[in-house]
Subunit: 376 residues, 2 copies
């Protein structure tokens, strides 16, 4: 192996940290297990994509049904779990901090949480993926003083989530759009939270610890928090007429325009393109046509002025808003989708593990000697 002492790529940009067969970004195309994201968004369901990420192939009909039923079962909580989760503070807490804590608490109730048996780990993988989406709905219910509705096993995870979140049945289009959002966010190679999950897993710590770490990393505004900021931006701008003046001012003052640009996709984020058409239709139907028009105009002006294109966060903001989802739940929903990828990466890490221990380039003092107070 080569050594690169002395050289340094900040943020490990361009450094290969491991080999992977989960997802790849090649020539600005995002692939899950070799399938383009556009192909999967057009034809697949979130549950099918989860199967693909975990098994490296599409399921047959029965396999898909078994996984679906398993994940739906895992969307319910035991009485002991509900008791613990209800005991956590919920008012005025950061939803991602609550989610991080909730997963950590669930570990304390799981007698298999420390198991190193593959069978137990797959059990926990399924449990965490089902529970994560329900936890987001539960958090919203708890702060609104509602109980979680029972899971209906004839519907999808997407349908059940929206039903539990809002307390009313979603339409077919709403379900389909939300399901597609879950597909689009499911994996994205070695992003910061996935990398955190792998680094944590590399000490042979447990799955819960790795997922808790990943939630913590995704929580940061440079990572998961951007679509929430996009919505704030659109609300700040207020109307289509204000877009041009707002952008001129923002660029003159070098404000960061949220939802634009991506370190990996210099020619546009493929996920943004899928989201854009869904955003248009949903915004129109939910009486938010102006938000889509503002977004569309902002996109053209940003392309003209800076040649920077929207990323996945830009149109997911208006999609989620049109679905009636509170903006502080955008990142938790991101987590509830991405957990499927995190878990695929954690298991991949363990297949051929080596603990992550990079080097630091020393830039501090040398040769210091301890002295008593009177000589300092």
């Amino acid at each position: 192996m080569q050594k690169y002492e002395g050289a340094m790529d900040r943020g490990l940009e361009g450094v290969v940290a491991c080999s992977t067969a989960v997802s790849s970004i090649i020539d600005a195309t995002l692939f899950y297990r070799g399938f383009t994201i556009e192909d999967l968004a057009a034809h697949s369901s979130f549950e099918e994509v989860i199967f693909l990420l975990w098994n490296n192939r599409l399921p047959d009909k029965e396999e898909l049904q078994v996984l679906q039923q398993n994940l739906l079962s895992n969307m319910s909580f035991s009485d002991a779990e509900i008791l613990q989760l209800k005991a956590l503070p919920v008012k005025e807490v950061h939803p991602m901090a609550w989610l991080r804590t909730a997963i950590s608490v669930l570990a304390l109730l799981d007698p298999k949480s420390q198991s190193t048996q593959k069978e137990d780990q797959l059990f926990i993988r399924n449990a965490l993926t089902g529970k994560m989406l329900s936890l987001v709905a539960l958090f919203n219910c708890l702060r609104q003083g509602r109980d979680l509705l029972p899971i209906q096993k004839e519907y999808s995870m997407a349908w059940n989530f929206l039903n539990c979140l809002q307390g009313e049945e979603p339409t077919e289009e709403q379900t389909k759009v939300f399901d597609t959002c879950l597909i689009l966010h499911a994996d994205h190679s070695l992003n910061c939270s996935t990398f955190t999950a792998r680094v944590t897993a590399s000490s042979l710590s447990d799955m819960y610890s790795s997922i808790v770490s990943a939630i913590g990393a995704l929580k940061g505004p440079l990572h998961g928090g951007a679509n929430e900021e996009v919505l704030k931006t659109l609300k700040d701008i207020g109307s289509v007429d204000n877009v041009e003046a707002w952008l001129k001012n923002a660029l003159a003052n070098k404000y960061k325009i949220m939802g634009f640009g991506h370190r990996v996709y210099k020619n546009g984020d493929p996920r943004a393109k899928v989201l854009k058409s869904m955003s248009q239709s949903l915004c129109e139907k939910s009486g938010n046509a102006h938000l889509f028009e503002m977004s569309n105009l902002l996109e053209s002006l940003m392309k003209k002025e800076k040649n920077i294109l929207p990323n996945v966060d830009f149109y997911s903001a208006t999609v989620y808003y049109s679905l009636g989802i509170t903006s502080d739940l955008f990142t938790p929903i991101f987590a509830a989708s991405r957990i499927s990828g995190w878990l695929a990466h954690i298991l991949e890490q363990w297949e051929d593990n080596r603990i992550y221990r990079p080097k630091g380039q020393w830039r501090g003092k040398a040769g210091q000697l301890w002295k008593p107070f009177d000589q300092r």
Copy 2:
């Protein structure tokens, strides 16, 4: 900056991930802020080392006193905190999983947990460092059905921890030895948990999230769990007479001998040398002389047979055991010391931040196409 596409160092071994001025390992010598660990272990206190790690210089007398009082104040919990912490399951849970959850819960009670103000971050840094050590003692009290004793501000953190943990006042030697252990574990460059803390912090997530991630990484048996395993080994061997036969069998069967070897120190871990003399004295005084003798013999035989030397975990096992500390608290104590380093690294990361996003080397399928069930 150079790019290394295609090349890969597993575990990022030899890859420089960032520059740092916190600690360094140069020619098998461990330095905190330019001071050797031997110098600090001989002359300093844990509180002074914390000041050093956080301020890049030794304190004057008043600065040290201010920090000491601040940390001691932070070792107490509010009623609201105790209420939440007591609500967590404690029986049959992994102490590190409990600690990870406890820190995550404390975030939910801290109205400043999301602040990006430097002043608030320094406040949280101090609070977390004080509370972490108390949490370990509290965990032990809760599972034994005892209350935490009040913090006595005329004593050190080490004294108060031992007092709270055992429910009886430690001797001067016990306090001194434990204080030295805290010094020896406080930082160690970009080890896996510290790196996890920095990766989490790099998305501009909060301090609590970064510490929770680090606890999760330290929890793994390839990282923090080794001294617990050392004690198990010594108990398995049973007596000095069995050491030679046990080792012969272990080497013949290629068992991993815990507490030996280190990726960084090929010529011996400097921390092990400091711990060895303390282990001898404490083992003799606590009626565990045979444990030290077994350790000493194992060390000589390992050197002769494999030329592998003991690491920090090897003699800390018998030191902690002689202090009457249950072996499942060894790693939580490691965390309660290392948090001082984690926090120095998190703040350093934020001074010149870039989100960690390495590349994955693709080794999966290409060109897959979605097909309906009947064509799969």
